[in-house]
């Protein structure tokens, strides 16, 4: 997804998830992108597509510049269709999920 802007990234993710895929995004989505993804997901929900399951992990440490700019980096985002992935436990560093085939 290198080279895609936020809108393109969200459209790509949503299309893949609606096709039943589970994505692991190494660089994650920013909080603003997460909110946009939730907004876009809400517009797609119908009787067949009930939404997404998403888990994002933030960087614990921020650089001085990132603090100044109010940015917090995301180290990983997992996103998939809500009827295929269900988070059963999560804390700061661990995610346990059940994935249906």
């Amino acid at each position: 997804m290198e080279g895609l802007n936020s809108e393109e990234k969200i459209e790509f993710i949503l299309k893949e998830v609606e096709d039943g895929k589970i994505l692991i995004l190494e660089h994650g989505l920013t909080p603003e992108e997460q909110a946009k993804l939730i907004e876009r997901t809400m517009k797609e929900i119908d009787s067949k597509f009930v939404g997404i399951e998403m888990e994002s992990y933030m960087e614990e440490r921020q650089s001085f510049i990132d603090k100044l700019l109010g940015k917090k980096k995301v180290r990983l985002t997992v996103v998939g269709p809500a009827d295929k992935i269900k988070t059963i436990y999560r804390d700061k560093d661990i995610i346990r999920a059940v994935i249906k085939g």
């Binding site: 920013t30 909080p31 603003e32 997460q34 909110a35 939730i38 907004e39 997901t41 809400m42 517009k43 929900i45 009787s47 009930v50 939404g51 997404i52 399951e53 998403m54 888990e55 994002s56 933030m58 100044l68 700019l69 109010g70 940015k71 917090k72 809500a82 436990y89 999560r90 804390d91 700061k92």
Partner: protein
């Protein structure tokens, strides 16, 4: 955007603001409307919205203006903005478990999706947030993480209210250790327990000392 918001928040912290719009955010069934009603009744009279055990009871943003909160040293005029619960999924079948027929459940689900969108858009129209979490549940949910991340990116002041401390299984200490960088106030919006601590924090965090 981040730098401007940080600067704005910094100026606000110095010069203060007397009239602020406070959003009550959180996942569905955290008790947002119960808290909004509690604040309105304690300080202004009346209610903000209907409360129900069915998730997504609040599907449109509800407001109550000019609520004056005071303590011995300061006062704060707020507009309370009670927002629909934010979720990443909405399945109409869940509403049918509460006795609704399919048509009604689908209509409610559609309204709930619109409510989530409206709640997110309102993040651009508020001055501060009470993020309400259910202290009987795991706080590391995506909704909590996403809301907090957006508040931090916008430089908006936030108080986390650990609600439902009147229930068995409530562990507000878990919320405090989960979000050590934020002020966490354990409350029961239903019984009013510790609500005075929340009002103190609101005047301190969102308001201006006289």
């Amino acid at each position: 955007m981040g730098l401007l918001n940080r600067l704005s928040a910094w100026l606000l912290s110095i010069f203060g603001k007397k009239h602020v719009r406070i959003g009550i955010y959180g996942p569905p069934n955290a008790g947002k409307t119960t808290l909004a009603n509690r604040i309105a009744q304690d300080w202004g009279g009346g209610t903000v919205g209907e409360v129900s055990e069915v998730p997504h009871e609040t599907r449109k943003v509800q407001k109550k203006g000019n609520v004056v909160i005071k303590n011995d040293k300061a006062s704060l005029v707020i507009d309370i903005v009670d927002t629909p619960g934010i979720a990443t999924k909405i399945d109409f079948h869940e509403f049918m478990e509460y006795g609704m027929d399919e048509e009604e459940a689908k209509r409610r689900a559609k309204e709930a999706t619109e409510g989530v969108i409206e709640a997110i858009k309102w993040l651009d129209n508020i001055d501060g947030v009470i993020l309400l979490m259910d202290s009987t549940k795991n706080p590391f949910t995506q909704v909590n993480i996403t809301i907090l991340g957006n508040l931090e990116a916008r430089g908006l002041p936030v108080i986390i209210a650990a609600n439902k401390i009147d229930l068995d299984g409530s562990t507000p200490a878990t919320l405090k250790s989960a979000f050590p960088q934020h002020e966490v106030i354990p409350i029961s919006a239903l019984t009013g327990a510790n609500i005075d601590l929340l009002y103190e924090a609101m005047v301190r965090k969102f308001g201006k000392k006289k």
